[in-house]
Symmetry: D2
Subunit: 444 residues, 4 copies
């Protein structure tokens, strides 16, 4: 599977329509092309909700879902028209005919017809659903509502309720289908090949961005044309900058190299982090901290099953890492007290994980009501990262010098199954032995 069958997007639409109240309309705009400089543009990335509901990969389109008083629905896609001159210059367009035939919408019109048709769709609807996070589109919706409003004395009703569609789509996206899981599994596999290659081709003196180039080349070679997010390739102390994407330094002997990189496959993300020695051999201190993080990751992952939640995984991991750092002499004091004081957050400064899917930090609520502690129970079909880490900056003079400048994160992607979990990250080497063996072989 290299992308979802188009029929799956129809299922997604149906699932959303099932959540729409009767006599409502939902509006999903596609992304726009973004200028990089002057007249050049960044590689187009479809708006993920729009993609989830259409599989349609052109800019400037608009999906309209109508649900009438009886609960019957209709899907309409506005998209760029077929235009020979434009297509000679800018590339092929799918057009209205194929939109209906291949993408399975009930009707399709040119974007030029939006102005005329949209207000008529809004007439007498009770509710309008759209994503509140897009302020430009919200302003557009209010403009259309005003057009409807101007007919109110003639007996037309204007919608009086606006519903944020973002959380509704988020709940759908949160539970992955088997096809979605297959794509994320494949994105993980491709990413694993790239992490292997990074380890194999790593050497002292190489630039961090050279390693990034190897990763991206391996992604694309295996069918993933874009990364899911900017690669972090962080040698030594750079690893202590969490979103280090400058990737501009050379790799030095005795440093660790932290790589956080995942492929995007047909819109779906992998998000994998590995940390390994630039020269192929862990030092004693690196080994000690690395093994601690690795064990923490295993502990957390093994606890995953339906009903578990991030809050409990956090407790487990934090306690384990606290004990570990006390054992290494990095934390001093009574373990129970240190745990209660959350002292570990001085070294493990980010969260344990996040949802994963079409977005690397995928949508979906983490909380029950307003618990603030991520107590939402896991369900089969959820996919998340587990990514413990330990970060001791060079500048941290409160820790013995030998530990400084070490930053470690190990991150896998986990699907919740009916009975437990599936670790989707199967081919990214992680044990000290495996890593050292792979790197040694590569050098030979």
């Amino acid at each position: 599977i290299s992308q979802l069958p188009l029929s799956d997007f129809g299922k997604h639409r149906n699932a959303l329509v099932a959540k729409m109240p009767n006599n409502s309309i939902a509006l999903f705009p596609a992304a726009k092309e973004l200028t990089r400089s002057n007249d050049t543009e960044y590689a187009f990335c479809q708006h993920k909700n729009f993609y989830y509901l259409t599989g349609f990969n052109e800019p400037d389109a608009l999906l309209v879902l109508l649900k009438n008083e009886q609960g019957n629905s209709e899907s309409i896609l506005f998209s760029l028209p077929k235009d020979p001159l434009h297509e000679i210059w800018q590339g092929r367009r799918i057009g209205q005919v194929k939109a209906v035939q291949e993408y399975g919408v009930d009707a399709s019109f040119s974007v030029a017809d939006i102005t005329t048709l949209l207000p008529s769709y809004l007439n007498n609807k009770d509710q309008v659903l759209f994503g509140f996070s897009d302020h430009d589109f919200a302003a557009q919706v209010f403009t259309w509502l005003k057009q409807v409003q101007s007919s109110v004395r003639q007996g037309i009703k204007a919608p009086q309720h606006l519903i944020d569609s973002d959380p509704l789509v988020a709940e759908l996206r949160l539970i992955k289908t088997d096809n979605e899981l297959a794509l994320i599994r494949q994105a993980n596999y491709i990413s694993g090949l790239a992490h292997q290659r990074a380890m194999q081709q790593c050497h002292v003196g190489k630039f961090e961005y050279h390693v990034e180039a190897d990763l991206l080349h391996e992604f694309a070679r295996n069918g993933a044309r874009h990364p899911a997010y900017a690669c972090i390739v962080a040698g030594g102390d750079n690893a202590n900058i969490l979103h280090y994407t400058a990737n501009s330094d050379t790799l030095k002997n005795n440093q660790l190299l932290l790589i956080d990189a995942g492929a995007e496959l047909a819109g779906y993300a992998a998000d994998i982090t590995r940390t390994f020695p630039v020269n192929g051999r862990f030092t004693a201190e690196q080994k000690a901290l690395y093994q601690l993080v690795l064990d923490a990751k295993k502990l957390a992952i093994n606890a995953i099953k339906p009903g578990m939640c991030f809050a409990k995984l956090n407790e487990l991991t934090n306690a384990f890492l606290t004990e570990g750092l006390v054992g290494l002499g990095i934390l001093q004091g009574e373990v129970t007290q240190l745990i209660q004081d959350k002292k570990i957050k001085d070294y493990f400064i980010h969260g344990l994980g996040h949802w994963l899917g079409l977005d690397v930090h995928d949508v979906g609520d983490y909380h029950i009501n307003t618990d603030r502690e991520q107590r939402r129970a896991f369900e089969p079909g959820m996919v998340m990262t587990i990514e413990p880490g330990l970060y001791i900056p060079l500048s941290d003079s409160s820790v013995a010098e030998k530990w400084r400048g070490i930053g470690i994160r190990i991150e896998d992607n986990i699907a919740v199954t009916a009975t437990g979990f599936e670790n989707l990250t199967v081919n990214s080497p992680e044990t000290i032995a495996d890593i050292e063996a792979l790197m040694l072989t590569a050098k030979a």
Copy 2:
């Protein structure tokens, strides 16, 4: 009564709160001052919904109504702070202390605190109510929502439903309390004095805007500092321009003068139209048409009671006027057919009436569902205008010449009572006899 007791506005707030869902917030911005030219401003007119809910007459304020999960509510008024320097230059402000003491809100803060407090009010609310017609404010709401949204990963929920408060307030405003009726009655009385004066002081050669000045002076002399809408003072053929407010011509012998003018008293409108001969004596044709319109008005008004609707009043009036015009030879053909073809709309070109209250064209739905025919049943406490008219422009060569250039409208303000109606327009002369007598006496 010269304005509502401040406690009435508290009752209005309570009535709105009762309509709010639990765990919701409602936002009502005051009007802003509008520049007339350079650094001068128009006389401030408060936003009518804001006024209805507060009685507060300063610009730039914001009313917040909070209703929690248990249904308990709180009202907060943000208003301009007391500021000695500003008050020396611009005038006195009520300030936060008096806002609570006199206007009965639960708390009051300076407008400078809105930015800080508003997002915190929105946290974890399910629904936000505000008026969708104000696009600038809508954009502001989305900005606040975005601030809330940025805390979502910490477990804060952002509201996911926006509700148009305009129709909710409209339904409240549509049914008038006794105090409101008293104000509209008084506004009618003052307007009647002005119409009397206009008749008494009318003479050939006077400018239309001179008559307007008399009307406005009489309004203010009696406590109504502003008109409810721009006065229409339309001599002769000008009456055939429905919203003629140029008022720039001189009055000529044998013309009719149509005056559509009503006072605004403590925010409440009267809306009265009278048509009379500039020289004090109706011609035969004027008399014939005038009597027809007058009789149509009586017919419609006498039919008003709970359960009646505009659609039926329209039928009555249209049939009556059609018969009348056939009788005068202005319409030719079979009456039933002419009625069916709505031929009368060639001469009676506007609607029969409209709601009246804080706005001259007051808020409130006219329709049942989407009937498009104003079939909503009248209820006690509703106030409306009844304003039949006949308009035969000078340029209308399809009608015999003697009728041309005549435009007549007669408009009263009617409250629906438990058993029938009260005509609030009691002192604006309307019979031919009364008008001619008044004008004759004035000349003497």
Copy 3:
């Protein structure tokens, strides 16, 4: 003269064109109608610069002035099209034919053609002039520029200089023609009649807004349908609020009444202030302060001639008022020192005057370069107000009690002539004797 001959506006356009660089375009949008509440609007007030250049009194229009490389110019007026249906409802429009015939522009098109024509006018122009204070219009200009820009690779040049037209028009408007002076003179005369009537009809117990109604009625009766600014009718201590326009109190015995009110005639303003005793007789303290302000006004006015400037008038008046207040015991200390310390500004809290014309606070620079002291020399044709005042609030416990609650301002409108000045304010009574005599007679 009740308004400028239309040919004068053509002269104004020519004067502006003479200031435009070759190969430039100037854009002047008309004002828009402003909503008062719901579907009612404030009385339309044309944008003063647009009016100055066209005499055209409809909203939504746009004046375009083109000046080519050879210095030849063309004027184009975009205005609302003639539209029978719209005119039946909203009133007559001038339309394109009359715009050319009567308003003397070279061409006129419907506003619907702006989108098409404007970018073509901008093609290859070097400079665009428009008023920088109108941000919405500025955004519109940038949108048009972008349209031109998109043709740049085809050899079209887009304008690269934007010039603020506000100061250019301001300099023209600052020097009044004889016709403009005639209008301001007439506006003054009408305003004087109103101030006389206010004195005559003033009595204890009357509301301030009743006096305002008398003023407005007298303005309109004499041809000035609107005031040039919101009337200030301030009894007693209210006079110490400079822009008191609430006008909501009753007038009390022994109070002074300060009235700042001027008519607007054909767009031109008068701005006159008079202060007089509510009961018709000044008290001793009122008399003392009033005479001081009156003498200060005379002193300043008599000094006006070409070459004089506000800075010098300020020095004169401040010194005179300081001496006066020392004489009355209100200021204590050495006069020279008090003057140097500008102590008088505790009681004379506003500026001595301002330009007057189409705006009450008319446009035009007060400064030479960046002097900050209003040292610009007067020239024939300039019109200004001279309005000294003294303000001792009731709350000012630093002054003996008998002076408190007195606020006085006396304001005339002065034109600079070739040899000195003309006081345009000829019929607003100002001497104690005249005022008391007029009020006594009126009571009789």
Copy 4:
């Protein structure tokens, strides 16, 4: 040289300041980060004008250049402040101290100070320069102007002239320094290595985006982390879509492959196109057309020297290609007539070339006044592409079938020298012999 010495950017600033009028201010905003999806961002690309004037590579900054009445200037850089917490999460910032020390500006402040300082910089300046193409920034400028305007009665002058800085910077950027030429030369060299690799690793059945991955990997491996524009890798008929960037098809036997790809090095672009047979051997028809395009390119390039212009190169090339197509029987008719009718534009559908520099379609005027024909004379230091092409779509039934589906473009980058030209594209194989030899060797 892998990037310009920071002192060069100071020279660029000085060159711009020299073009600024006295008593003016110029404003150059940095680019903002652009969201790709949810909370991930595209790789940051600095605004090219801002980069040209600073060499500073952070978002959200603002360069201010002040030139006083005496012609003395000052440069101020507003940039993100040093912020330890932010830097742990998002990466290192340069901060204000280094901005002055390393980037050579006269002063540097935090972006938080812009609101306060900017209006004071604008006070009393005559002219403001900024890029008119950025509408959001233009709106910001008008907001600042309004703040200045509010102090005008106190004698502050607000700037009355806005000047589009885009054309001024464009003229500077158009003439490259030796260091800039060195970077473009190096970008060309790197791109040439990538084109070689593409040829070597090309084979039937490979996906177009696999070739893209090879190109990008080779760019990065050699120090160019980003391409200057989206790679076009167009097999067979895809080459007839000019900006084909889908790169989604497999390469087929007997097809040509058109690759338009250039590296970006330290902000500077290469823009190279090569076309070669997927299987390593040109067919007879491919050979015929390819040689014609190649000869056209040589003809054009050899004509380049100071004083030449695009208009003349177009004439040369169009005539040559017309003759060639007549020779091949693709065009029929009399050559002179065909040239006059510009028949060649049916097959050579784009322009012959464009400026090249920081942007791939670099800034700089092509025209003299409004000639519309690109008659501007070349000058030493200008860099341009020369890229003739011939395109015969599969769907073009007016041409003999054997020619259909062939699209060829060959593009080099040329610098104008004092006496002629330098072809910067030295290592991208282009002769039929060289290409076939390279591809044959690679397969072995």
